[in-house]
């Protein structure tokens, strides 16, 4: 039996933890609706309520905040979908087909993941520059170019994850489908893909969130303000005169992170399910 005192102590510990986790969040929310727009004068409990900070973000002709939001969504969505498609196809091949170089390919994928991506920044930069001379649509300072780099980036890890999951799908299902009359492509679409949905959901979300917050590559490859992603824009914010506009910065941060939080809340179950489901065959 746990004593009353120890329960109380535990609760106190819990509340301290909650306070630590939530304090900055509440602070930012409070600052974003605070009519007093500077750091020194802001307080946890604002003196009034206003949405001016939010409105201002979209009205300021010098700051294309709306573009940044759209850019980020566009790139993250396309990147996550593209990544998922490529990784799932690659995983299917590695899991089901036996071909020369399969082992080497798997090892290669793993090996490439070991090196941090920014080792290749200079190479990526020059590659895109070269591509841009032939196909300007995919060169530097284009979203398509950035997407290309993003697509390459996370495939290795994701392929590995999906392959591991696909390996737990019994091969006799493929064979049953084969006898039923399905081509390899149909087996992938109608049998394997639906069964790997949990892990695909997780990877989609993780990739989406990762790309949404990605700053380094984007700031190397994108130049013009209207092409910026939200992460880049916010960083510019903090370096510009906006740094003093604490309320606006807070509002921008909240608007930027809201979709991510929402996605997590909605997909929570799927994420946990997907991360654990691979372990046991149902």
């Amino acid at each position: 039996m746990i004593s009353r005192r120890s329960v109380t102590l535990r609760h106190i510990g819990l509340w301290i933890g909650i306070f630590f986790a939530l304090y900055p969040v509440v602070w930012i929310i409070s600052a974003s609706v605070n009519p007093v727009d500077n750091l020194a004068a802001s307080r946890l409990i604002p003196e009034g309520l206003t949405l001016d900070n939010y409105r201002g973000l979209f009205d300021d002709p010098l700051v294309p905040f709306r573009d940044w939001l759209i850019n980020s969504w566009k790139i993250s969505l396309a990147g996550a979908i593209g990544n998922l498609a490529l990784a799932a196809l690659a995983a299917y091949s590695f899991s089901r087909l036996r071909f020369r170089g399969r082992r080497a390919g798997l090892l290669g994928l793993l090996l490439v993941q070991v090196f941090p991506q920014f080792l290749g920044f200079i190479a990526i930069f020059f590659t895109l520059q070269a591509i841009g001379e032939v196909a300007p649509g995919f060169g530097l300072d284009t979203h398509a170019g950035l997407l290309l780099v993003y697509l390459g980036g996370a495939i290795g890890f994701n392929t590995y994850l999906i392959k591991g999951f696909m390996d737990t799908v019994p091969i006799s299902l493929d064979e049953a489908a084969k006898v039923d009359g399905a081509s390899p492509a149909l087996i992938f679409w109608r049998v394997i893909l639906p069964l790997t949905r949990p892990v695909l959901g997780v990877i989609f979300i993780i990739t989406f969130v990762g790309l949404y917050g990605e700053l380094l590559l984007a700031s190397v490859l994108l130049r013009s303000a209207e092409n910026f992603t939200l992460a880049m824009g916010l960083q510019q914010f903090s370096l510009s005169e906006y740094a003093a506009k604490w309320g606006a910065l807070s509002a921008a941060a909240i608007l930027g992170s809201a979709p991510i939080v929402a996605t997590f809340l909605v997909a929570q179950k799927q994420i946990v399910g997907g991360l654990t489901q691979g372990g046991v065959k149902g």
């Binding site: 049953a176 006898v179 039923d180």
Partner: protein, 380 residues
């Protein structure tokens, strides 16, 4: 409906391992043929070669008049039932059964008709909207059968379909399978390692050992006239008893005694192995001359109600040919732990059964003994 012909069929895996050697026989139209053999003997491989899931590296397989060596599985007009059922977990029972028909572009009405009909026959109509995980083992088995039936293929291929069921359900499904075949009369190739299944289901049974076909025959024929020692020992439960010795002067001399040989067996046959089925022993009513039976030291006696199994030992070292070693291994026994005496089993009248520890002469119906060459294992 179609015959399946095997013509010098062989299989060598890319690594050089040989799985199947020169298999030639045919499954007649509408026939139920069971492939049986110890695990790893290649029977599943042979089935999968018919299905198109394994490449045929030697010889040819014909379904009907068509050589199918290079025909993809979907065009072979066969349906397969897998050991683990291989139901699509994300589809309902209905969709599982309809999947093959949809891929073959059947009309909605036709799919509906066939699935409903198969579900009715298999008594799974009420589960059609369930997912496989909400079904019991027996029900899943029925769905797997249903998926094969709706296609109305020219042949069914079944790969140990009952081995995942518990004993009681297996017996039940076994008789249902038999009834189903009697009704549909579709050519069926069935793989099992359970010889009881083989004997009860098959119109004919093919015994395979190490990728080589040993004998294809009707179950009774296989039981009565095995072509070699391996088949004799594999078919029948409890298994046939083996004892080594030699034949001379109208007698089989096994060291500790003699038994009369009624058949014409050349005296110069050298060392032979005699096989005696458990039911060919009997408990004599009076005293029996030792030459008409075997001196037995009775061990365990299992009363089964209808009859009794008497385990006994005779004072002769066990005979160990390669075939017998393999049979022992398949039964999970170790040849080295057999000891100095030959262990045997007799199936006798339960009322006349001796008691454990008795020493007695057990009668042998010597005209029903089988003789095999000790060198080749072939029947003499």
């Amino acid at each position: 409906m179609a015959e399946i012909h095997f013509d010098g069929v062989g299989k060598i895996y890319p690594g050089g391992t040989r799985a199947i050697t020169d298999v030639s026989f045919e499954i007649h139209d509408g026939e139920f043929v069971v492939l049986v053999g110890p695990s790893g003997c290649g029977k599943s491989t042979l089935l999968r070669m018919v299905a198109g899931l394994e490449e045929i590296t030697e010889g040819e397989i014909r379904i009907g008049d068509r050589v199918v060596n290079d025909v993809p599985p979907k065009d072979r007009d066969i349906a397969m039932v897998f050991q683990n059922y291989a139901l699509y977990p994300h589809m309902t029972v209905y969709d599982n059964m309809a999947f093959g028909l949809k891929l073959r572009k059947f009309s909605k009405d036709e799919i509906e008709r066939r699935v409903q009909e198969a579900a009715r026959v298999l008594e799974i109509t009420e589960y059609l909207q369930r997912k496989p995980k909400a079904l019991s083992g027996g029900q899943r088995q029925r769905v797997a059968m249903g998926r094969a039936i709706v296609r109305e293929p020219s042949a069914f291929l079944m790969d140990e379909p009952l081995s995942n069921l518990d004993a009681k359900l297996r017996v039940q499904m076994r008789s249902e399978l038999g009834l189903l075949h009697a009704r549909l009369k579709t050519t069926t190739m069935y793989v099992t390692h359970d010889q009881v299944e083989a004997m009860t289901l098959g119109d004919r049974v093919a015994v395979i050992r190490k990728g080589v076909l040993q004998q294809v025959d009707a179950p009774q024929e296989l039981y009565k006239n095995p072509a070699n020692l391996f088949v004799a020992g594999f078919i029948g439960s409890p298994a046939m008893n083996f004892i080594g010795g030699s034949v001379s002067g109208g007698h089989f001399d096994y060291g500790a005694g003699k038994l009369p040989v009624t058949r014409d067996i050349a005296a110069g046959s050298g060392r032979v192995v005699a096989g005696i089925r458990p039911e060919h022993f009997f408990v004599p009513e009076g005293e029996l001359h030792p030459d008409q039976g075997m001196e037995a030291e009775v061990g365990l006696v299992e009363q089964l109600g209808s009859d009794a199994l008497v385990h006994f030992e005779i004072d002769v070292a066990p005979v160990l040919t390669p075939d017998i070693r393999e049979l022992l291994e398949d039964a999970g026994e170790d040849a080295s732990s057999l000891g100095e005496k030959t262990k045997m089993v007799a199936r006798v009248d339960p009322l006349a059964a001796p008691r454990p520890g008795d020493r007695m002469v057990l009668g042998v119906e010597s005209d029903k003994m089988h003789f095999f060459s000790e060198d080749t294992g072939e029947v003499i």
